[in-house]
C-alpha cells in the first residue's frame, strides 16, 4: 500500500471487496473455445509448410513427416536385413512407394461412388449393428493372423465407452452393471437446439472414400529372403502380402501387427514379457482373473491428470517417429467417470487401469468423428500403473478419393433431425413411463463422420460431411454419455438414415415427430444470416 494511503487502508480494502463482488460474468462459452480451437487448427493445416534449408537446397518440411506407412518401412526393412537381404526387395518397395506420409485426396467426378446408400439395410437392428460393424472394421486386429498365441490386442471400438453398440433399446445406456450403481431410471432425453442460424452450404460437398493399395507382392520374392526354401513358392500365383506381425524379445516390449490390406499398424504391449527377473511370473493372459500376482485396485487418487496421460502418449509417438501432422488436439476418453460419479460405493468402484488418448484425425481442415459424434483418430492406450503406452491403434494410411454429392440445405429439417437425436438415435423413448430430461444442443460445426457401407463385397470407409451438434448441458445423473449429435448434410445419406419406417425414430408425444417425406419440395429459403 502506498504510504500516503496507509491511513485509509481499511476503506480501500472495502472498495476492493466491492469491486470484486461486482465483477461481471464474462459468459465465457466452452463451445466458443472449442470452435475457435478447431478454426485455428484448420488455419494451421492450411498454412504452407515451413521450408527447411539444407544449405544449397531446400525441401518442404512435410516431406520429412513420418506418416502411417513410414512405420511400415521401419518394421519391414529391419526384418529383411535380419534375413540377410541388404536391399529392400522389389515387391515390398512397391508397397512402400505407394504409401503417403500424409493425407492424400484424389478428386473424382461428382457422384463417382454411385448411390452411397444403395443396398444398405435400413432396419433398426442393423442400423445400431453398424456400430459394431465399425468396431470390426479391417483396422481391428484379427487374432487368427497373429503369429503368437496370446490374446488379440485390446482394440477400442468405435466411440468406445461413450456409446454401447446396439443399445438402442435402453435409454440408460451404460456398461457392465456394478452392484453399487445407482438404480437405473428410465429417462426420455429431449434435445433442444439453442444455437445460431445455420449457414447456407454449397449445393454439393465432397464425400471421401478411403482407399488402400493392398499388399500386392510376389510371394516367391518375399519368401526368398526368409531362408525358408523347403517349398517352391513360385507355384503360388497372384499372391498378395496381407499382414505380418512380430514381437520384441525383451521385457516390456511390444508386439506389432501390420495389415497391408488396409494399410494399418497396431502396436500393443507384449503380454508374455510383462514382468520377469524378480521372481514374479505374469501369465500370458491379462486381467485379474489370470494374473498370479495380486493387482492392487486403482483408487481415484491414483488416476493421473489428462495432461500427464497425454504427455506419456506424446512421448511414445515422438520416440517411434509417428507424425501427428494430420491430427488435432488429443483428448483422454473419460466416460468411465460418468458411471463413477453415479456410483454410491465409490471406494469399491473398479477404476480402469488403461486410458485411451485419442488424436482426432483432420482431413482438409475438418475433424473426423464417429457416428456417435466423438472425435476419432489415432488412439494410444496408456497404462496408469506403469505410466507407459501399451497400445497404438488406428495408425493407418490416409489415402482418399473424393467426389461431390448434393447437400441438404433445409436448415429446419436439419435442426429437427438433430432434436430427434440425429443420425444414430441412441436413446430409447420410454413415453409416459420415463422421466424427461432436456438436452441442449449448441451451434454445430462441420466435420467429417466416419461411416461404413458394405458395397462390392467389402466394407468401404467413407467420410461424410456432417453437422456435429455439441451437447451443451449434459444430463445430470447417471448414464448420459453422448457428447454430440450427428446430422449428415449429404442428402443421399440423410434421406437413407431417416426414411420413414426405418431406424429407431421415437414418436415423441408433443415433441419432435418422426420425419416423413415432404409432400412438396421445400421452398427455397434465403440464406440465413450467420450471427
Amino acid at each position: 500500500m502506498d504510504p500516503s494511503l496507509k491511513n485509509k487502508e481499511s476503506e480501500i480494502v472495502k472498495v476492493i471487496d466491492e469491486l470484486v463482488a461486482a465483477k461481471p460474468d464474462t459468459k465465457f462459452d466452452e463451445n466458443f473455445k472449442q470452435q475457435l480451437r478447431a478454426k485455428i487448427m484448420q488455419k494451421i493445416s492450411a498454412m504452407p509448410p515451413k521450408k527447411i534449408s539444407h544449405g544449397w537446397f531446400t525441401v518442404p518440411k512435410f516431406a520429412y513427416a513420418m506418416g502411417g506407412l513410414a512405420i511400415l518401412a521401419l518394421v519391414i526393412l529391419p526384418s529383411l536385413y535380419f534375413y540377410g537381404n541388404k536391399t529392400p526387395n522389389a515387391a515390398l518397395s512397391v508397397l512402400t512407394s505407394k504409401s503417403s506420409s500424409g493425407v492424400s485426396v484424389t478428386k473424382l467426378a461428382g457422384n463417382a461412388f454411385g448411390a452411397l446408400t444403395a443396398g444398405q439395410s435400413n432396419t433398426a437392428a442393423e442400423k445400431t449393428g453398424s456400430q459394431s460393424l465399425a468396431a470390426t472394421a479391417p483396422s481391428a486386429v484379427n487374432t487368427n493372423d497373429l503369429a503368437v498365441s496370446y490374446p488379440a490386442p485390446n482394440t477400442p471400438s468405435a466411440g468406445s465407452g461413450s456409446v454401447v453398440a446396439g443399445s438402442a433399446g435402453s435409454g440408460v445406456s451404460g456398461v457392465a452393471a456394478s452392484p453399487t450403481m445407482m438404480p437405473i431410471r428410465a429417462t426420455n432425453y429431449k434435445f433442444v437446439y439453442k444455437g445460431s442460424d445455420l449457414p447456407q452450404l454449397s449445393d454439393n460437398m465432397d464425400v471421401l472414400k478411403r482407399v488402400t493399395d493392398g499388399g500386392a507382392a510376389s510371394l516367391s520374392t518375399v519368401m526368398a529372403n526368409t531362408g525358408l526354401n523347403f517349398i517352391d513358392w513360385t507355384k503360388f500365383s497372384n499372391t498378395k502380402l496381407q499382414n505380418i506381425s512380430f514381437t520384441e524379445n525383451r521385457d516390456n516390449g511390444y508386439q506389432v501387427y501390420v495389415n497391408f490390406d488396409d494399410g494399418s499398424v497396431s502396436i500393443s504391449q507384449n503380454a508374455q514379457w510383462v514382468a520377469s527377473g524378480n521372481g514374479t511370473t505374469i501369465s500370458s493372459c491379462m486381467g485379474t482373473g489370470c494374473v498370479p500376482s495380486p493387482i492392487q485396485p486403482i483408487k481415484i487418487g491414483d488416476v493421473p491428470s489428462d495432461s500427464k496421460l497425454i504427455d506419456v502418449a506424446n512421448g511414445f509417438l515422438h520416440d517411434y517417429g509417428i507424425s501427428l501432422v494430420n491430427y488435432g488436439q488429443p483428448y483422454v476418453q473419460n466416460d468411465w467417470r460418468i458411471q463413477y460419479e453415479a456410483t454410491t460405493d465409490k471406494a469399491n468402484y473398479w477404476i480402469p487401469q488403461s486410458f485411451s488418448v485419442i488424436y482426432p484425425l483432420m482431413i482438409n481442415g475438418k475433424e473426423v468423428y464417429d457416428e456417435s459424434g466423438n472425435k476419432t483418430g489415432l488412439t494410444v492406450n496408456v497404462d496408469i500403473t506403469q505410466m507407459k503406452a501399451t497400445g497404438v491403434y488406428n495408425l493407418m494410411t490416409q489415402n482418399y478419393q473424393s467426389s461431390s454429392y448434393p447437400t441438404e440445405n433445409d436448415s429446419a429439417r436439419i435442426i429437427k433431425l438433430a432434436e430427434n437425436g440425429g443420425f444414430r438415435q441412441i436413446y430409447y423413448w420410454y413415453g409416459g413411463n420415463g422421466e424427461s430430461q432436456e438436452i441442449d444442443l449448441g451451434t454445430p460445426v462441420l466435420g467429417l463422420v466416419q461411416m461404413w457401407f458394405y458395397r462390392d463385397n467389402q466394407n468401404q470407409q467413407m467420410l461424410v460431411p456432417s453437422y456435429i451438434f455439441p451437447v451443451t448441458n449434459k444430463a445430470a445423473g447417471a448414464y448420459y454419455y453422448q457428447n454430440s449429435v450427428v446430422v449428415p448434410v449429404i442428402k443421399d445419406v440423410l434421406d437413407w438414415g431417416n426414411s420413414s419406417g426405418g431406424g429407431v425414430v421415437p414418436m415423441m408425444t408433443g415433441g419432435v415427430q418422426a420425419e416423413t417425406a415432404p409432400a412438396t419440395p421445400p421452398a427455397v429459403q434465403p440464406a440465413p444470416a450467420v450471427k
Binding site: M1, D2, L5, K8, E11, I12, K14, V15, I16, E18, L19, V20, A21, A22, K23, P24, T26, K27, F28, D29, F32, K33, L36, R37, K39, I40, M41, K43, I44, M47, P49, K50, I52, K61, L324, V325, Y327, G328, Q329, K531
Partner: protein
Amino acid sequence: MNKPKNSMQEEQKILDDCKKGNLKEFGALYDKYVRKIYDFIFFKTYHKETAEDIASQTFLKAVENVKNFDSRKGTFSSWLYSIARNTVIDYYRTRKFSANIEDFWDLSEENTIEEDIDRKENLEKIKAHLSKLTSAQREIIIMRVWQEMSYAEMAEILGKSEESCRMMFCRTLAKLKSEMPLALFILLLIKIIWI
C-alpha cells in the same frame, strides 16, 4: 505472483517448436491464454459476441505471426495482450468512432453501439464513476481486481514497471473511493449484481 519457472520454460519450448514450423503446438498456448484474453476483451467491450469475435481475431493473428515472435523483446503473454488491445481499438475505429476509443467506457452517448443494450442499463449506474477514470486507470483496476493479475504480469503487458503499476492501482482506488460515497457505491453494486 510470478509465473513458475518451469511454466515459462515449457512455454518457451512450445514457442521454439512453433518457430520451427510445428504450429500444432500453438494449441497449448491457445488453451493457456484463451480465457484470460477473452475476459480481458470482454471487460473492454461488455458484449459476449463482440468479445468472441475480437478474441478470434486475436488468436488468428497470433498464429499467423508467432513464427516472427521474438522473445528477447518481451514475453508471449505481453505480446498476445497487445494484439488483443490493438484489435479492440481497431474494432471501435472501424465503426467510425473517435480515434481515442480504447474501450467501452470511452464511448459517448452518441457513439453507443446497438449491441450495448445488453448491460446498458446496469452499466449506466457505475459508468458515471468508472468513466471518470482514464483508460489506463480502468485497465489497472480491471486487470488487478477482476483478472487477478500480479503487478509483474501487469507490468509486462502494459510496458511499465511493477512499482508504477502498484502506485497507479492504489491511487485509482483512492480516487474511486473519494468520488463515490461508499454506501451509494455498495448500493449501486448490489443492484448490478442482482439484475
